[in-house]
Structure formats: structure tokens, C-alpha cells
Amino acid sequence: MNGTLKRTAVACLAMFALLMINANYLQAVRASDLEEDTRNQRNYFERYEVQRGRITAGGDVILAQSVETDKGDFRFLREYPEGPLYAHVTGFFSPESESGIEKATNELLDGSSPDLLLRRSIDLFTGEPTRGANVDLTLNPRAQKAAYDALRQEGKRGAVVALDPRTGAILAMVSLPTYDPAELSKPQKQPVFQRYDELAKDKSQPLLNRTIDRTYAPGSTFKVVATAAWLEEDSSRDAQTPVEAPVRLSLPQTSHQLPNYGGAACGDGRPPMVYALEKSCNTPFGKIALDLGYDKMLEQSQKFGIRQRIGIPMSVAPSDIGPQEDPAAIAMTAIGQRSTQMTPLQMAMIAAGVVNDGKVMKPYLVNKVTDAKGDEIDAADPQELSEAMSADNARKLRDMMVSVVNNGTAKNAQIPGVAVGGKTGTAETAKGQPPHAWFIGFAPAENPKIAVAVLVESGAASVGAEATGGGVAAPIAKVVMEAVLNQ
């Protein structure tokens, strides 16, 4: 029997060899395919294994944090103590994806960034678990809260974004309607996907960050850019230089005419520039743009940052004045209509550039990144994006905008004892739709602390006329500016 026993032994060895070869095939060759299979729930368990870093505002207000749990497969759960207030900034951390800062700084937060290599090596050596880095944002909690409350009181969709004009640090970023990021950051797929579906299908688009993800016609606020181009063309021009301001401006190669609002006259037909801006006449700016031409208007807009890919670190939808069309189109561009499409952030950058002696700073949200031990890994380094105007011309324009708040359409933005500058806007959208209300501005004019852009979608429904931007948007901006100035 020993012969057959030996053959049986060989057969047994062959069986074990087959099992081993198959295990090698599974765990070495096919492992990555199996790991990537969408039905493999481990893919999103791992997201909850690492203690993800905190997101804070102003150093101490916690916007997002990971809290350890003691049961089940999810070790750390994500919490958002401030709820919907910062939703569009922090974004969410769902089982399979993330958004906002959670997405843009994901590698820092989950500790996988190359910048954290040293920290990870030390942790490996000392046997401590890897922890994500903490991200501190530039947001000013008071300004954020003020913007959120003021915009919410209006009861409309809209956006508020505020910058520190001298650095580009973003002080407030509010978009309404909003959502609670906690609802989208539970580890359970089913309820999260269901809630996400509801939000995605909601016509009011609560998931959209209106400050950077969407562009709007800027309306009369864009006259600031036209004025900048006009000043830059000839350094002898200033606020008192008269401009042509007919009741109706004939547009070339078309029978259309550009009127002032309500067909009104603009002063005596040759008012000083500052008057045209204060009253937000249309025809002088149309005329200016026609004289400058498309290229110069485009150049000036680009100097303020349009058509640039900007990451704050979330990527910002590019703003544009549109392609060169018929000669008449540029007159409409000057008053922020036709193909002119700006994000609220871009409009805030324009106000900030004017008050910062013509220098547009690159906007940013991340103030500081520290590892779990508190050691600094990265800190904000304010950078100049471009020089939009000469310092001289910038001061002329700045003073004209102060005049708009003191004497013109933006009186609602006045703050006693502070030189506030600004420009209102009312942007017509589709026919039959109420126009959007805009305000861009800054305070104080000397040593500026804040530049702000406010957009209220269809905000002009209740209040009439060109004063809309001043009636709806300017008071919101005022509250936000006060929140920053009164600190």
C-alpha cells in the first residue's frame, strides 16, 4: 500500500500547492482589482480610520472635527458644530466624496500629503497613529455670522463674500440657500445618498456655492471697471472731468439706443465723471466703452482677475466679459449686461483692488496649516495677483466710490464716522424675471480693512428702480463691514 500512499501524499501536497497558488493570485495579483471594486465597502471605511484634522475659523471657532467613537466599523465621525453657517466653505465629507475645503485640502486633513511626510515618519517611529493636519481658515466668525444673518433676513437666494483688501484673505463667504454638512457626512451610504439626491434636485440649488461656483451679470457695479479703464487711458482725467451723458446713446450698426434708467437725463448732459457714477447713469459709461473699444475693456477686466483660474484653494469659476461681438455690445459690457458674467468673489476682488492702491491680491481661505502636535506646516503668504491700476488712479476711483456712498445710490451703506466706498448694481436677467441686486464696496477708504460684494438673486422684485442694489444689497454689506470694523 505504500506506493499508493505516497501518491496520495503527493496529491495532498498538490492540493495545498493549488490553495497557496490561488491565495497568492488573490492577495498579490488581484488584490488591487478587488480593493477598487465599487461594491467593496472597505473603500469608504478607511476614510473613517484616520483622525481627520480640524477645520477652524479665526484660530478657535471649530467648523469641522473628527470625533472618536467606540463602536462599530467607523472609528472617527465628522462633526460640524456650526451647522449650515459655514456649509459652502467647509463642504461635506461623505462616504465616497467630499467638497469645499474638505476636498481642496483633503490630503492635509487626512494626513496623506507629502508635506506631512516628516510628521508621519516620526509617528511611525514613536508608534503614534497618523493624524491629519489642522486647517485654520481666514474667515472672520463675526463677519460670517453677520453676513449669514443679514442675507437670511432678506429671505432670498444670494451670496456675500468679503476680503481683506491688503492681503486677499477671505473674511466671509456665505451662500444661500444652504444645507447642513452633517447630513451629508454620516458614514452610512444610504441616508447620505438619499439626502444628497434631494438637495441636488432642489430647484433652489442649496449645494451651489454662489460666491465662486456661479457667475452673474454684475450690472452697474461693473461701471467701476469701465471707470478704471477710462482713468488708466489718460492720467489727466479725474473725478471732475466731464463726460458725455446723453439721455439716449445711439449704438453703432444698430437701431437700438441705450437709455439711462427710466429715460432720465444725467445731469446737464456733460456732468463730471463722479456725478455719472453717483447717479449710475448708463449713457456715459456706454460712450466710454465705445471709445475705449473691446480690447481695452478686456485688458482692464483681466487686470482685475477675470479669465484667470484661481484656487482659493477651491477652484473659482472664471469670470468673463464674453467674446468680441458687434461694436454695440461693448457699451452693454460697460454697464455689466450682455455676456458679462462675474462671480461675487470677482466683484469683491474689484472693490478690493481699487481700495488697495490698484493692487489686486490673490484671494485665499487657508490661513495656517498645523500638524496634530500644533507645529506649523504651512502659513498663508499673501500674493499680488495683478496690478489693476496705478496707485494714483486707484485713489481717484476710490474717492469717487466714497462719493457714491456719501451722495449717490449707495447711501444705505454709510457707517457713521467711517469713509465707506461702494457701487450698487441692478442686473437684468431673463425677461419677466426680477433683476439681481448688487453692491460692491469697501471700508475704510484709508487703511482698508474689508472689501465686500453682496448679491441678492432677483432681489429687486419689491423695491423699484436703480436704487435696488442700494436698497437691498447695500444694507447687508454695511452690517458685514461693521462686524469687521468694530472688532
Binding site: 500500500m1 499508493t4 495532498c12 490553495l19 491565495a23 497568492n24 488584490a31 461594491r39
Partner: protein, 448 residues
């Protein structure tokens, strides 16, 4: 002449217990960040148990193979740790305490077998009794009032709250029966019949026992929906028939019968056909979503994939995602947390146990011992192959326990008895033969 190697055995045993203790501490550190509080009692318990087994072995089977007990201790211990870890992962059906108690009972049964059964050849006299007991145990779950159906398979009998899987014990009884029967009839069975092409066909009337075993295992398959046990029994019988008769034709006939039977079964029963579909296309999404489809298998494969080469580490995987992670799929849970490295090591331990069993069989001095040891060793190898091969999708998945690792008292007790039998036989095989009286002055040897 083989040595007793008692010190080596004790050191290996201590090492096996140490590995298990380190693994246990590892689970605690990973989950609670501290050494489990039960570490000392657990360690002393397992260590004491194995020391007792060793002492009984040293007293009652001093020449036994020194590797068997430490190897079995290692897989049994790793199984315990995995069940503890799976229980901690939130699986309500997993209970490390129960498994530890059953391990204790298994070791008691091991020592009782060693003490009570001084000469395993006594079993040869019980050939037909064993066959009867084996068949009765096999069909007992079908007896109304006694049998219980759990998870769609009618393979349990219950006394009040306690349930027993009699097939686990039936396997042992039937292997004893096969060994006794084949030793008695092997000359008849080995007698050449007609020669067709290159194969010696047996005589038709000698096919009887083969056909009966085939019928019984098909009956098990059909009545109890227990594919695994059916395949296990039939395969073991065919191999023992081959060992006894030294005729390849039996293996070929056996394979043909099984394939034929399986084909008919797959045509008649959906669950058999579905197992084959799952085996061929486990990743098919439709099958994945189907009730009783490929999801269970894929979850096991996902776990093995997640483990990769080095594994996630004990306590750091997700066994809760694997259905039946504590019983049929425990090997997938091992694959995730210990990785390919752990999987290879454990397969190697099983291979060593089987190899030591077959070595015992080779060196045994009588045909019954050879067949019994060979049969039991193959039974173990075949069982590991069927369940591990099934879980890793090498072959169609059929439910079986992973010997010594899966949770379940019946299998654990039966397998400890199996090891006791191998130890008993290895003791007999390695024991030096009694000294022949060599006094040529008194005895004349005549030769014709």
C-alpha cells in the same frame, strides 16, 4: 529508530501557545489600545489545557509524533483569536468563550481517547458497528423531532437548546468503517476484471460498496442540501479505495460518478446550479445582487484582497462585512487581517499535520492502521481543500467548517478525536518493535 523528542515537543507546544497569546494581545491592542484584561486567565487556560494534553500524551503515547499536538494547538489557538476578534467586531453569533469551552472539551476527548484506546486495532473489530453508527448519524437530522434545519441545511440534531452536527462524528465512524471493510475486501476489489484500453475495470459485482457510498453521499446532498459533506465523504472513500486496491480505475470511476451525480443534481436543484454559476462568474453584478448569490463569496474575496500580502493586522480589518466570518468564511477573515503571509503559514501548518499523518500511515505496520491513518489524513486535507478552495473561489463553494478554526463544537470535538487517533497510531508506528530473542544457540533456523 525514531526518537521520542519529548523536550522538543514541549518547546514547540509552548511556542504555539506563545504565538496565540501574542495574537490575542495584538487584537486587544488594536481594538482597545491595551492588553486584554483576560490575557492571563486565557493564557493560563490554554497553556494549562495543552500541558495536560501533553502530559497524557507523554504517559500514554510516549512514542507519538512530536509535531501533531503543537501544530493542532497553533491552528486551534489562531481560530480562537479570530473568533474573539470577530466577536469584538460586533458579530453576535461569534462567541470566543464558547469556543474556548469547546476547545477544552476537545482536549478532554483527546486525552480520553488516548487513555481509553490503548490499541487502535480494537477498532477493526468494530468495522460494521462503526459503519452502522456512521450511517445513523448521517441520516439522524432527517428524523422528525430530532433534526433541525438551520440556514437552509438540515444537518443538525437538537436536544433542547444544544445542537449537534452529527455528520462531523459520522465522518470519523465512516472512515473507520471504510478502513476495516477495505482491509477485509481489498483482495477481492483489487482482482482484475476486464481490461479496457489502459484501465483495468473491476468486476461489476465489486462495484457494490462504491455505488452504495455514492448513493449515500448523493442522499446527503439531496435530503440535507449539504454539498460539502457529500463531497467530503465520497472523495475520502474513493481515495481510501485507491490506497487499498492500488487501482487507478477506482479513482476514475469515482470521479465519473461524482461528476455525473453533481451534473444531475445541478439540473434538478437550483441551489447546486447557482453555486456553479457563482463559481464561474462571481463578479457578475446580477448574481451579486441575487439572494443567495455571489455576494457572500465576493465579500470573502474583498476581504482577502484588502489583506494583501501583509494583512491589515489583527483587529484592524473588517470581518463584520464577511457573512459567516466566524464559521465557513473564517479563512477570509484570516486572509484580511493576517494577509497572504498568514494564509500561507496556516496552510503550511495544515499541510504539515497532513504530512505527519501520512508519514504515520507509511510507517504503520499493519494494513488497517495504514488505511485508517491514510484515510484520516486525507479526510483532513480534503476538508481544508474543499472549504478553503471554496472560499477563495478555486472550486465551487460548498459549506464546510475549516478544521480547528471555525466556530462549532461538533467539528472541534470530532477533529480532536481524529488527532487522538493519529497520535495513537503514530505512537504504535514509531514504538520500537519488541526485541526479538536472539539466542542462536538455542534456536535453529531451518530453510527449505
Amino acid at each position: 529508530m525514531p526518537a521520542k523528542r519529548r523536550v522538543a515537543q514541549l518547546v514547540m507546544l509552548a511556542f504555539a501557545v506563545l504565538i496565540v497569546m501574542v495574537a490575542y494581545a495584538n487584537v486587544g491592542l488594536a481594538i482597545d489600545e491595551q492588553i486584554p484584561s483576560g490575557m492571563l486567565t486565557y493564557g493560563l487556560g490554554l497553556g494549562g489545557l495543552m500541558l495536560a494534553a501533553y502530559l497524557v500524551l507523554a504517559r500514554f503515547a510516549p512514542w507519538a509524533d512530536p509535531l501533531l499536538l503543537p501544530l493542532v494547538t497553533l491552528v486551534n489557538g489562531i481560530g480562537l483569536v479570530m473568533i474573539y476578534r470577530i466577536e469584538r467586531g460586533g458579530e453576535d453569533l461569534a462567541s470566543a468563550t464558547n469556543q474556548l469551552i469547546m476547545t477544552g472539551a476537545g482536549v478532554v476527548l483527546f486525552t480520553v481517547t488516548l487513555i481509553a484506546l490503548r490499541d487502535h486495532r480494537a477498532l477493526q473489530r468494530l468495522t460494521y458497528t462503526s459503519g452502522f453508527i456512521g450511517l445513523f448519524l448521517l441520516v439522524s437530522p432527517l428524523i422528525p423531532g430530532l433534526g433541525k434545519e438551520i440556514n437552509g441545511a438540515r444537518i443538525w440534531i437538537g436536544f433542547g437548546p444544544a445542537t449537534i452536527q452529527p455528520a462531523e462524528f459520522a465522518k470519523l465512524a465512516l472512515v473507520v468503517f471504510f478502513a476495516g471493510y477495505l482491509v477485509a475486501k481489498r483482495d477481492v476489489l483489487a482482482l482484475a476484471g476486464r481490461r479496457l484500453l489502459f484501465i483495468d475495470l473491476p468486476r461489476a459485482r465489486d462495484l457494490g460498496p462504491v455505488l452504495i457510498t455514492w448513493g449515500v453521499s448523493l442522499g446527503v446532498l439531496v435530503m440535507q442540501k449539504d454539498l460539502g459533506s457529500s463531497l467530503l465523504l465520497f472523495g475520502t472513500f474513493i481515495v481510501m479505495l485507491y490506497i487499498a486496491t492500488q487501482r487507478t480505475s477506482w479513482v476514475l470511476i469515482g470521479i465519473l460518478l461524482f461528476v455525473g451525480g453533481a451534473f444531475v443534481a445541478s439540473q434538478l436543484f437550483d441551489h447546486v446550479q447557482q453555486r456553479i454559476d457563482v463559481w464561474l462568474n462571481p463578479e457578475n453584478d446580477e448574481l451579486f445582487r441575487k439572494v443567495g448569490g455571489s455576494e457572500q463569496l465576493m465579500q470573502g474575496l474583498f476581504a482577502m484582497g484588502a489583506g494583501g500580502i501583509l494583512g491589515t493586522g489583527l483587529g484592524q480589518g473588517h470581518p463584520s462585512l464577511i457573512p459567516l466570518s466566524f464559521s465557513d468564511f473564517i479563512f477570509a477573515a484570516v486572509g484580511e487581517e493576517l494577509g497572504l503571509t498568514g494564509v500561507m503559514a496556516i496552510l503550511m501548518v495544515y499541510a504539515l499535520i497532513v504530512e505527519r499523518g501520512l508519514r504515520t500511515s507509511l510507517s504503520a505496520r499493519d494494513p488497517f492502521s495504514k488505511l485508517l491513518a491514510g484515510g484520516l489524513s486525507f479526510l483532513l486535507a480534503w476538508q481544508v481543500f474543499i472549504i478553503v478552495g471554496g472560499v477563495t473561489n478555486l472550486i465551487p463553494l460548498t459549506g464546510l467548517v475549516t478544521p480547528f478554526m471555525s466556530q462549532g463544537g461538533s467539528a472541534l470535538l470530532a477533529n480532536w478525536v481524529l488527532i487522538a487517533l493519529l497520535v495513537r497510531m503514530s505512537d504504535a508506528a514509531r514504538r520500537p518493535p519488541p526485541q526479538a530473542i536472539q539466542n542462536e544457540g538455542l534456536t535453529q533456523v531451518f530453510q527449505r
